[in-house]
Symmetry: D2
């Protein structure tokens, strides 16, 4: 975990203290359930609830001796709870605590991530509506294609992030299961009702079949979902990086007054936040393959997944959380240059209307092949003129006899109004924002 790419809200989930806190809650809930079912004395559950506590350093100290974290933890708890502590953990196995705890932590992480996604969604919606009708050139293959609006770009990202929200909800649900099923999941020494009671109180469901561990397909699906979200972040970041290129400069990350873009070149204003997001996306994604490799545990369980998850559990959630908020900040503060957008749009001498001309020629009776040839012929003249100006393509068309025999000058001129391209923006916005 890289501290500079972490927000305290998310790192708080992954501290030893937080982890032991969840362990204690699970042990206590289990004790309460056992007491309710008259499996252990009511006093034991009350003692756990009232005096249950632990000391992180003490747990570490004991662990160094016994080389077993849960035993060390229970020993520390016993030092606070006293005699009744011996009823804790009855019939349970360490993994009942560890795996349910990881599920609780990933569930908590999901909620925080949902908050980050929501902030991104809000920022995207606000800016999309603000620039709903700001004309900008649409680019395929990095080459000018046809006009679109900046709002439409953002609406597309919103729709994508909205799908990520749903994926994250599904992933959260996938991971929200509790296992208290004993050494190989047979409930040999523990009543399955304990599991169901604890699950309910944790806002989870009981894992249908656990085998000491919760099956790792759930975690694989969870981290895959994070990987997809990270890729969307990379997608948006890449767009902004492109827009901020010197030659394009249609949008720019906010650059504060005292900021230095480069130690050597004082003139620089670099899109470092979105470049950073691109890297963070790679980092978050790197958790997907090991999570997939974790699924094929041996028999009822081996512990190879554990070291992996000690890494990717905190790292992927912390860095994704940070990335979501950094992205939201970038979007909220993005400096947008409508004038540059328009200037760029016109830079190709009107070529962005080549399809309209093609269709008009076809409508006027030209075969598609001929029309294509005619339009391409004039388009290439524009391309090849380094000193082209805005109206070049229109003028070339007017001057091309094969074209002008089909389309009047007025007709040709009518094919170059910008509004034509935006008539369905409302329709798309309604799909995305419902309004």
């Amino acid at each position: 975990m890289i501290p500079r790419y972490a927000r305290p809200e998310m790192t708080a989930i992954w501290t030893p203290k937080a982890r032991y806190g969840v362990w204690l809650e699970i042990e206590t809930l289990a004790a309460e359930a056992m007491a309710e079912l008259d499996i252990i004395p009511k006093e034991a559950a009350i003692a756990a609830r009232e005096r249950g506590d632990f000391d992180v350093d003490r747990v570490d100290e004991i662990e160094r001796e016994v080389k077993h974290d849960v035993i060390a933890f229970l020993t520390s708890v016993a030092e606070h709870v006293g005699e009744e502590a011996r009823f804790l953990h009855k019939g349970m196995t360490s993994s009942d605590v560890l795996d349910t705890c990881l599920a609780v932590q990933l569930k908590q992480a999901s909620d925080i991530l949902l908050g980050g996604v929501d902030r991104v969604l809000a920022a995207l919606e606000k800016r999309a509506i603000e620039h709903k009708m700001t004309p900008t050139i649409g680019r395929s293959h990095g080459i000018h294609a046809e006009p679109t609006t900046f709002g439409l770009k953002l609406a597309g990202f919103h729709a994508q992030m909205q799908r990520n929200r749903e994926r994250l909800e599904v992933a959260k649900k996938e991971i929200s299961t509790c296992a208290i099923s004993g050494a190989v999941g047979t409930f040999a020494n523990i009543d399955p009702r304990i599991e169901e009671m604890v699950a309910e109180r944790l806002g989870m469901v009981a894992e249908p079949v656990s085998t000491q561990v919760i099956p790792r397909d759930r975690h694989a699906a969870f981290f895959s979902a994070l990987g997809v979200i990270a890729s969307t972040i990379e997608n948006i970041a890449t767009e902004i990086r492109h827009l901020q290129r010197t030659e394009v400069l249609e949008a720019e990350e906010f650059f504060s007054a005292g900021q230095k873009g480069s130690s050597a070149m004082p003139h620089k204003r670099n899109p470092v936040l979105t470049e950073n997001l691109t890297g963070l996306a790679r980092l978050v994604r790197s958790s997907v393959v090991p999570a997939l490799e974790n699924v094929a545990l041996w028999h009822e369980r081996d512990i190879s997944h554990s070291s992996v998850e000690r890494g990717i559990g905190p790292d992927a959630t912390i860095h994704l959380d940070f990335a979501l908020h950094r992205l939201a900040g970038v979007i909220e503060n993005l400096v947008i240059y409508p004038d540059n957008m328009l200037a760029n749009l016109n830079r190709l001498g009107g070529l962005h209307n080549s399809q309209r001309v093609l269709l008009a020629l076809v409508e006027a009776g030209t075969s598609r092949e001929d029309a294509y040839r005619l339009v391409q012929r004039n388009a290439m003249r524009v391309w090849d003129n380094p000193n082209r100006t805005e109206g070049d393509f229109m003028n070339y068309l007017k001057g091309d006899e094969e074209v002008s025999s089909k389309l009047s000058d007025e007709k040709i001129e009518s094919l170059f109004d910008l509004g034509y391209h935006f008539k369905n923006v409302d329709h798309v916005f309604k799909r995305v924002f419902g309004k």
Copy 2:
């Protein structure tokens, strides 16, 4: 795509002929929608539906010349449809056809994959019920832990595969969208109702915001789902490979009469199918990372995703499909050795009851720490005896004064009945199979 790991049902989706067939259907549906909205003559739509056809070799031939696949295809179609063909594809862009086609193919592939998952589920359920109460040792870390049943193992895999079924349904829904939105997704030259009409007739929904292409987060999520399913296959395959090990031999892949296990060693009966499944799982999973890398396309689109998807589209679906059916066959025909399971279970001299003894000692008033020490002491004696027999652990316990002062011989004997471990098998089966 590796032909030997392919079933014709799935490969049929990915032939050029099938692909062009989907293209033709999309173009025809679009034409019909346009005719309905009076955008093109009704006759054009009728001509497309009635005479619409193409020739694969001819398309290839034209493509070599024009270097554009959709233009080549449309030219070939025009050779069948005649004059009215010029109304086809009106206001559409190639990607409208290509991307919607890929969605149709992945949707078709999903349906076939669901069939494979269902066959695996049926096989797992049948064998699980058959061996619901077949005792076998549960193993954690490859070491004997406590007894479970073979049916319970299979029930766990069933629950996991059932989750994969749901993931696949979600993935199918994710991918089932249609885009007919024009060059940059603005519907500049095409009515958005066309897209909605075609989507509906294809059993899909319209992509809320496409930008010449359907956003690739959908595909990333799709291939991630396949990766998780592949990992479950690896999980089951690994279990069977373990069970077939010479020293374990609790189950065995069916080995037919004429089969040769090894060219050199005529005695061999190898779990080659499940080893093969392990490899296929790696192959299918290898599609996940490139699918994630495909998300961050430049601006409204670049075409880097295309070559990736020409590979992973067929490969991942074909190999996963094959793997599912191979796995189903392995499970259906798996030779199961209950006697060996029981013999193995007893091989550790009764140590699998160590927890029960521990709990009994605690219940009898021993502290957890002391009880642990007592049980471990006797357990290690069993471990260290190479000639141990079934009853060793029980006898050592009886002979240990610190133990026998707490537990009578009868009590100790009662801790070794196998049925104790299986009292909740019904409960778990009800969770999984609802019965």
Copy 3:
């Protein structure tokens, strides 16, 4: 393997016929070695060499029956060689043939790949020398930094590709080992001298310790090297895609006369080859993870690696080979626009000299902090002027009293000559091209 991204030279290595051909050569060389050591009759070796042959369809037919490829192959060979064929494969195991064959194929593939790398290197060198002194703006973070030359860009790619050449040589050497060591690598039934003799005749070395299989760390290292090369291809392709962007247009993929960039927009000239290379890089790289996962085979071997390698063996080498040649073609034919490079360079009003001004101020006695502030202040004025012209930065500096009190107008002007930046181009070229 995707046929459209394949060159016949490389696919020829991976046909069944080629594979069986290598098998036959290995069996024949082994027979000759055995004959030389008087282990089998000389006639048997002669028969194998003279009449040794096979029939692909016949092998398939037999394999369907015996379910074992090498046995099927040997049976077909026996049908050509006759009686003496029974001395073939003596004491060998199938993997001796299969694994050595894969090594031979990967070695052959390496040689072809080296040819592709060399073609890329030659193209890079030619164009680098051609544009050694063509000024172009260097960009960090997509933002103009300081001038460089187009030749220098290409020299950097050349140095990178030269390193890939060395990596490929190492990878080829890694993979060029031969194993003929019997069922578990003990040479129980075969003399280790056979292995050494066959290895030598194949231009390989004997695998020090094989265990039925050649250890898979070699293959993992091999495919990792391909992954690095693919990433370099992506790096160069990305650069070209950037340079071809409409707003930049400093270089362009060659666009032939009859070519159509888009079915809908006749004006388009898209960098589709380099976008394709970007995708192919992802595909080739996707072989790295499964190759790494293949290393941990069980005990002396399991066969999980086999299906993986049936995929990645041909796919990664074929697509990388194709990509290298496509890339070479792109570089060879790249249309380069020095005028646009110069125009872009000047687009930021001279800001690319901000560091020089900073250093001059420091030299003139200003503190680094103050100098930074002064330069940044004037640089930001340029940034904020949408109608800036070439000389703006210089003029602002001249007009800034705090600057002009330190630097005379002549001094300031002297800081804007372009040649200053290129004085060490020779030095770098000498490092790369030795001249």
Copy 4:
């Protein structure tokens, strides 16, 4: 980075203090070189060397303000060095320091990793020689194949790890380059001799072409090498995990007296160290893909690689280092059970000699096909007898008329001596250990 999987020796490289220390050394060496070339006053270099220092907290404090780490660092250094500090960093750019520093750190990490590899090699060699002739069954597909020796298994791992040593040496050399080439690598404001002098003093070479950054193909190759080493660790760990399985128990991780294998089951002795190594291998490998994705930076550089490397730089080296030492410890202390190896070897009733019988039959004139059939027929009788004993296969053969008509009882008996399999162990050991 997961603290519990870290050794202080390696983490020391990656502290802020260590990093700033390398920065200071680079700046000082550069200053000394500049002084030597009369670019800056000699006093400045002396001041840097004598008074050069920094304060980590102060750097952080300044960075929070100026948002630039190198500027913050230089400011802190200036507070120690005084006036002359303004000559530091002259003509350099931040990346000159950052990238060279990363190279220094990875070089240092390589040396520590080489130490770990050497410890593993020493342990493997010692145990290999110790068990050079300890018979154990070789297994292919998890099924008994033919006898090998435990020393031979370890020799194979030694050869593999020796290759990793060479790969690591190559990787170290790859990464040991220094870049001090200015803002876009043109040496516009710095003499290229500075770079060469600093490189030499750091024990590195000058990067032939850097473009503000050192090209990332080097880092990709470096992390790929770590990924291959991690996979070898997984390979060895997997072998040990298999050998420790309850039913196999041919070797066992050392289990100390006070250790607790399971909180619930006091009888457990689990291979938790090698399972942990399996997980750590997945973690280390997860750095490979992002390192490959880092290669295609935009133009002369973007900073997306930086956040990735802040993660994988420390994580991959620290965890791999820890894993190497954990593995060495496991091997050094591995408890090996030759008796169990022999007992397992004999468990299949002598079937491990099936190939020898096959070859003897062929030698006696039987066709290979018939011989195969005869051996397989008797082998399957052994398989199918659950109560088989050591001599079963031999006895069945003797009793099979078709066999006994070809081979005398004495001949058959002679085919079952174990020594036959080990006659070439010396040969292989000589290859690996040179003795």
